[in-house]
């Protein structure tokens, strides 16, 4: 199993579980990278596999580490499958599916925290409470981080500290997480002693 173990941290940090099939008229599944394995496992657990696939719409994009398991998803035979090259190109399609979705839609998100967080944000914006959205973390642990100073978001942060891709400040990565922004918080590490930046270590892979 490649389920990503996350050490328990502070209470704003999202928690993840294993995806479980639930009865629904539409199964909206959004995944990236190794999240494809969670989707394959989800379908395998369905009491009526064919029925679930006939009502499934899968949106997929490769992971930030390059993992691309599109073939395994395509082979499932879901009613609709879509491969986007990146997360930003996946989100407009998700918005359209959400606009058309009816009552009785089940939401399943799998993969990295960046993909899960942004999909969850867009689903919640349509009025779905976050407890109704299932999330399973798989694959890379790189983070999506908002610079608290310039508000710019840096994707796929692997090291702590890192340089903000917008304003260039050196930021340390907090565990404090905003669901509204789908991002962790980055704070200037050398504010009190300008220039004294500790060496960056890889914390997220």
């Amino acid at each position: 199993m490649t389920q990503t173990p996350l050490s328990t941290t502070i209470k704003s940090r999202p928690v993840y579980a294993t995806l479980a099939p639930r009865p629904g008229r539409l199964h909206l599944i959004v995944a990236d990278g190794e999240g494809a394995e969670a989707v394959v496992d989800l379908i395998a657990r369905a009491p009526d596999r064919a029925a679930m696939l006939a009502a499934a719409h899968i949106l997929y994009t490769p992971g930030p580490n390059g993992t691309d398991q599109w073939d395994s998803l395509q082979a499932l035979g879901a009613a609709q499958v879509f491969r986007a090259p990146t997360i930003p190109t996946l989100l407009p399609r998700l918005a359209k599916v959400l606009a058309d979705a009816h009552m009785g839609t089940q939401f399943y998100l799998a993969g990295t925290e960046g993909l899960i967080g942004q999909a969850e944000r867009d689903i919640m914006a349509t009025g779905v409470p976050f407890v109704a959205i299932q999330k399973e973390h798989r694959g890379s642990t790189v983070r999506r981080v908002q610079c608290v100073h310039c508000k710019g978001i840096t994707e796929n942060v692997a090291t702590d500290p890192f340089r903000c891709s917008h304003c260039g400040l050196n930021l340390f990565v907090r565990d404090h997480y905003s669901r509204r922004l789908a991002a962790f918080q980055g704070v200037n590490i050398d504010a009190e002693d300008p220039g004294q930046v500790p060496e960056a270590v890889v914390r997220f892979q």
Binding site: S12, P129, R174, H176, Y177, R179, V187, N188
Partner: protein, 356 residues
């Protein structure tokens, strides 16, 4: 209609001072005596320290519902500057407008009752006439009609009221911080936290979660009744009389923490006390949270011998995780050295009042 201030009235009472650049802020001798010193004993740890917000001793910060003191006008001018630089410090999610009207009513009614020389409110049905003499404001508007005010009701009234405010919506047995006017905060970001639940926005606080403090506090707040507000103290430390210590501008004010010497510490180092009051609002059922910040220079506080002794002991013995979270671990040794001169080891009396 605009909210341009025309201050000048009562300027024998309201100080003309700054919380930035040349930092002319200070407390007059009378104001030091009424400083809300938050330590009722010689040590400190987190607890569910809440009590009914009922009128307290005459002359104290507890005398009235909303304390208006000599810093009022200058604090409101500072807030206007913070908002001009960064309008994201005041935000309100769309469903919070009614709670904003609730708060506007609570503040206008209280201030007009408690300080008739400065504020007046005349109501004729929904036609309201509000006069704020210290800020030179005289407005007539229609209650519950946003188009008759220069800002939304929440921003309008909190631009005229000392203290940061947040409004919490109650849903699913939880509180959600869905609006805020946050310009004098102890290093947390409204823009990041807006929309979070009680446990989420408190996530960065050390120790208290494991102590069960937040579980008990939330349970207590969910039972809060209209007309029975409560209050508590929180505190931290700030170098220079900066009201606005926001994470957004940390690179600007962070370096000031490295400027303390034994010679300037008494003037530069401030105890920052938050008198927090919580009100259940009548129409929206939201909870208003008022975080009123009082800044006291160390050299002002030690003029009360009991406070000098006690502050030394609290700072010296504070749990290192709290000193780190509150951002003064690097300056603690210097603070303790400076304060030790005001601690002769004599016992202190219980409670926070200066002379009891």
């Amino acid at each position: 209609m605009s909210l341009d201030f025309k201050p000048g009235a009562f300027n024998d009472f309201f100080r003309d001072e700054t919380f930035r650049d040349d930092f002319t802020y200070r407390n007059s001798p009378q104001n030091i005596r009424r400083f809300p010193f938050p330590f009722d004993r010689d040590d400190y740890m987190y607890s569910v320290n809440m009590e009914p917000h009922v009128p307290g001793r005459k002359g104290s910060v507890f005398e009235h519902e909303f304390d208006v003191d000599e810093h009022y006008v200058s604090e409101m001018i500072d807030r206007a500057k913070v908002l001009a630089d960064d309008p994201l410090r005041c935000q309100s999610l769309p469903h919070m407008t009614l709670a904003g009207w609730d708060l506007l009513e609570l503040i206008m009614v209280s201030k007009a009752r408690d300080y008739p020389q400065w504020f007046s409110l005349t109501r004729d049905g929904n036609r309201w006439h509000w006069i704020n003499r210290p800020l030179g404001i005289d407005h007539t508007f229609t209650f519950l009609d946003e188009s008759t005010l220069p800002y939304g009701p929440f921003e309008y009234i909190t631009r005229q009221t000392q203290g940061d405010f947040s409004l919490q919506d109650e849903r699913d047995n939880d509180l959600w911080m869905d609006a805020g006017m946050i310009t004098s905060q102890a290093d947390w970001s409204l823009d990041f936290d807006i929309g979070m639940s009680f446990m989420e926005w408190h996530a960065p606080v050390p120790l208290a979660h494991d102590m069960g403090v937040f579980d008990r506090a939330l349970k207590f707040l969910l039972k809060l009744q209209h007309g029975a507000p409560v209050r508590r103290f929180n505190w931290t430390m700030t170098v220079n009389p900066l009201l606005d210590t926001a994470p957004e501008t940390y690179p600007k004010w962070g370096p000031s923490k490295t400027t303390l010497t034994q010679e300037n510490l008494g003037n530069k180092q401030h105890l920052r006390v938050e008198l927090q009051t919580l009100y259940r609002l009548p129409r929206s059922n939201a909870i208003a949270f008022d975080i009123r910040c009082y800044l006291g220079k160390f050299e002002e506080l030690v003029t009360v011998p009991k406070w000098g002794r006690r502050l030394h002991r609290v700072v010296r013995d504070l749990h290192p995780d709290l000193a780190t979270y509150k951002g003064f671990i690097r300056n603690r040794p210097a603070m303790v050295e400076w304060l030790s001169k005001y601690d002769d080891g004599a016992p202190t009396s219980p409670g926070w009042w200066p002379e009891d």
